[in-house]
Amino acid sequence: MTASPLLAVRDLRVLIGGRHILHGVDLDVAPQGVTALLGRNGAGKTTTVRGVLGLVPRTGSVLLDGEETVGLPTHTLVRRGIGYAPEDRGIFAGLTVAENLRLAERRGADGPAYGLVHELFPELKRREKQSAGTLSGGQQQMVAIGRTLLNGNRLIIADEPTKGLAPKVVTEVAQVLERAAEAVPVLLVEQNLAVVRRLARHCVVLADGRTAHQGEADGLLGDAEATRRLLGVGRGPLAPFTAEADS
């Protein structure tokens, strides 16, 4: 990564209930495109994201566009231009689709980008009065990602957005993230390496709450030995992502 990172995390440590979850994570998010955050289950990916956002107590340094954010309350940090789609989607089941989106509206020069959200996810427009709790997993993920696109964010953080989704919906979500990443850098936590291969230029791998690797995504995913050692998957280079391959 030659250009200055949009998000620079240094020595991020998280202690929850007396247990060290992160032992000093270093992570750079490129100013363009998708940066993937990878690692085996329990490596600390979600905690890293939650630590970056201040949703868990943390120490270390988190620079957003060169400005220190550790010490800021989560809502202040998010208002500086971060859209967050959490692992569990963070849907408010008792609210309608429209209310879930409205909640994410922030005051901005251009106003909320409902046009973009409804263009990418026309189903959300059709179902705007439906209770979000009655949506399918894929539709709920659309709401979660739609919320991140509503404001002119500087960074989108998507935590396992394809988890538990049908292959067709995985393709749809990947396409949306690809398009979003043309305008906004994305930090993508993902287990589906085919999606990572399609979307990510850079990647960071965590192991046991520490950074184990940072570099070009192609370099890692094309190296079978490194992929096996760091991620514990595959015996050979991964196949490129296609809807057919994924289904």
Partner: protein, 295 residues
């Protein structure tokens, strides 16, 4: 027949009083996970504020007409202010320490009646009210006290206002979302602490209004009134479902009626027991209360 009408109207009046206390209690617990044992104190502050103003100590206020309306407004405003101070000074610094938070609200719940006793004595004080509200009206052969109707009307107004607030305003939307997932509301860039203060203010306002109008119902104010009503308000909150305003309204009516009828047809005091038995039976069948949902 007239007995049943009178018991029903009295039960509804009592239920309205419970609802005024329980609605705020329910929202506060639903949004903030705070068991506010000081909520009864807010009712007492509203009651004493109204009593103080209606006794002629506040210019323009008095026991009759618009003077009484001003006294009620004053008592409600003082209770609301006390709720905001309580949230900012006692509850907020202890958000990360829930046990200490509960203890602190218990402390305030004990300190306020003691303070009221210290200033105005521990005996009940006659509550001044307009003559129009101290009379009765005929309903199906029963002479029903007007103040029952006033309490029911106030509770209906509060219920409608709360539903409009929760359903039609952005702050209400934040509160409803916060009841479901407070952290996610924060992660959307919303300062949920403002919603906390707002909900405390709304809860304090409703409880203080309950205190102001409760003075009409009981005919007097005393320092322990809030604490004894708080116990039944908690029963209402649990019965209605934590965080549900509509559930609290339904539960308040049921509990008010059960209490009145049981007290009359069995023995005085058994109504309180009946309410607790009802709660236990309901929780066995529906552990999340009548609704388990907000509004």
């Amino acid at each position: 027949m007239s007995t049943i009408v009178l018991l029903t109207m009295t039960g509804l009046g009592l239920g309205a009083l419970y609802f005024l206390v329980a609605s705020g209690l329910s929202l506060i617990f639903g949004l903030m996970d705070v068991l506010n044992f000081a909520h009864g104190a807010l009712l007492s502050i509203g009651a004493y504020g109204t009593w103080w103003a209606a006794s002629g100590r506040l210019p323009g206020a008095g026991p009759g007409g618009w003077g009484f309306a001003l006294a009620v407004l004053f008592g409600t405003a003082v209770g609301t202010l006390a709720a905001v101070v309580l949230e900012l000074a006692v509850v907020r610094p202890l958000y990360t320490r829930p046990r200490e938070q509960v203890l602190a609200t218990v402390g305030v719940g004990l300190a306020v009646p003691a303070l009221l006793s210290g200033v105005w004595g521990s005996d009940a004080r006659t509550f001044p009210g307009p003559e129009a509200l101290s009379g009765t009206f005929a309903l199906l052969g029963a002479d029903v006290p007007v103040n029952r109707l006033v309490l029911v009307a106030a509770a209906v107004v509060v219920l409608v206002a709360l539903r409009l607030f929760l359903g039609r305003t952005r702050h209400g939307l934040v509160v409803r979302a916060g009841v479901e997932d407070r952290a996610m509301v924060t992660a959307l860039g919303i300062d949920v602490r403002k919603a906390f203060t707002l909900v405390f203010a709304i809860g304090g306002c409703a409880a203080a209004l309950g205190g102001a109008l409760g003075g009409l119902y009981f005919g007097s104010v005393d320092p322990r009134q809030g604490t004894s009503l708080l116990i039944f308000a908690f029963v209402v909150v649990v019965t209605g479902g934590m965080g549900s305003v509509t559930g609290a309204a339904v539960a308040a009516v049921v509990i008010g009626l059960v209490q009145q009828f049981a007290n009359y047809y069995t023995a005085a005091g058994l109504g309180d027991l009946a309410v607790v038995v009802l709660l236990a039976a309901l929780l066995l069948v529906r552990p999340r209360g009548l609704t388990g949902r907000l509004a």
